[in-house]
Point group: C2
Chain length 372, copies 2
Amino acid sequence: MNARVLPSRPYNFSAGPATIPAEVLSQAAAEMLDWKGSGMSVMEMSHRGKEFDSIHNQALADLRELLAIPSNFRILFMQGGGLAENAIVPLNLSARKPDQVMDYVLTGSWSQKSAKEARRYGEARIAASGEADGFTRIPDPASWQLSQNASYVHLCSNETIHGVECHQLPDLKALGSDAPLVIDFSSHAASRPVDWSRVGLAYGGAQKNLGLAGLTLVVVREDLLGRALPVCPSAFNYQTVAENNSMFNTPPTYAIYIAGLVFQWLKKQGGIETIEARNIAKAQLLYDFIDGSQLYLNKVAKGNRSRMNVPFFLRDEARNAAFLEGAKAAGLLQLKGHKSVGGMRASIYNAMPLAGVQALVDYMRDFEKTQA
Amino acid sequence: MNARVLPSRPYNFSAGPATIPAEVLSQAAAEMLDWKGSGMSVMEMSHRGKEFDSIHNQALADLRELLAIPSNFRILFMQGGGLAENAIVPLNLSARKPDQVMDYVLTGSWSQKSAKEARRYGEARIAASGEADGFTRIPDPASWQLSQNASYVHLCSNETIHGVECHQLPDLKALGSDAPLVIDFSSHAASRPVDWSRVGLAYGGAQKNLGLAGLTLVVVREDLLGRALPVCPSAFNYQTVAENNSMFNTPPTYAIYIAGLVFQWLKKQGGIETIEARNIAKAQLLYDFIDGSQLYLNKVAKGNRSRMNVPFFLRDEARNAAFLEGAKAAGLLQLKGHKSVGGMRASIYNAMPLAGVQALVDYMRDFEKTQA
């Protein structure tokens, strides 16, 4: 990537589709009409040609390196996002055991949706739920009621709406289950390392940390392939997708290209450990300010607070509109909270720099003072 | 769109992902870091925000106008392309009649795949097949063996690989069937008007005439909604998608934006009738040249030749490599035929100008002379 003078841009706190590094956008713009002398935009390339092949293979290699994905896991680029995966996961895995029991841990809105959709394909049991606590904490794994014969255990490891994050993946074996752990890591993928020894399958929509809406990342352990129900569409059968290297149907080629640019950007930043350290610092700056303020409030248990999605409330909700209006004027965009929770939400994904969080904190401090 | 000096580009005959108007690519590049003063790339916008809302609504309105889609049809933006729709169509429509019979007309490779996938969900009967003719002609509708109780009749109205196109959609009622006609119009969508009075549902991947791979266009008559099988994933349930205005799951927002730019480009060209006339002229130029040459051969019956995909052979196949090498040097890209058919294929979608087809014909003429 060439050094370029990048235009000054507002800070975009959207929960997804979300902010993308300006370097990535600039490179995409520069290469739009002619990718590396090919005479084609990446949008115009056959997915089976050597140009796209090189883009695809580089993205796979970079992601495997960044996330230290072991060789017995396959990386699949699919479509439909997390909500489609809510069906695609049980379509592929629910028949692993003959009685089709699936264990779901409910950590917020997204895992509730996952469990509901799974019931189309078998018995989805609720192993644990944070609902009684308003999803402000993740139930202690020691309390999970795991089935002896579950096809898999499903956990949304970062809940975008409720702002809770699982900072250590459970060791299901130690909890007495031999089921593979399936994680929906849509909203914190590539923000931190993954302990693959505890994971059977991870999936996520790309529109938070990996680029464009319309691309789904699936990382699946090879022994979980080949177990799909007969009604599973071929295009969503993990084994079929894996055997065809994500080319059974035409993949979302441009989204794979953008994800590849994001992966290169991540490597240039210093890799996942560097990004994780930066994410920790960003989150700490914002949570510390909120906790020390009189006006703002975050309700999530400290040990379960998300580094990616920070929902917060103004104790005086009559000030919400003024807060959002002033934020926009200050170049701080898309801070309105999800309609089901209300209040505010700052999503501070990988592409949000520390300076963006600092600008938000500065604005929040000023707003608190002037409005008091 | 501002008038800009556009760079000279090679002509790209890829079957898909395929060439995109340079004006569209230039506008996308210019707006990449800041869409209309919003401070955001389209890639970074919440799909529920007012900015993307305006992009989405404009695309819907423009497409409805361009294709004269009646008000009792819904336009859905989905994911997975044509191969995913091969399952999604029967998942949504096969239960329309209790015995789940579906009629398939086989016009080439793509409809063969469609029928095979449909068998996951019921009895897919072959109403007619061009296979005995090597898919060089579409069976006369008068000869189709239509079931009395089919949930639908499926027809791929343009076969990208075999280069056959249905130039007049069948009137199923006149043929004694009361089933809705389902067309896969992936590779000629928006290249010509559609007679909606003969269609119940049309679907297509966007990567030929509408922009990016990863977006599926579905146009469905409202009375066909609400009939999905219980195992149909919610994200692929036409009724759910329609009720949520394609926002049940996060849609492929950037692909919708690019499709919208393509729709605006089409309107600027003069609309579908103008584009159709241009497509007829382009196809005629190429077919006339092939028919008049000694070296080149197209095997498709004249009445069924595709205006979009022109497969052709060199009578001396030993010259294939030299033909492709010379073509590339002349700035004529991606002419290699599909591996299942061999030879060459020129895909001349909407975005391919007459000058591109003329350049191809000039090259073919020169190649024939110099190599004779």
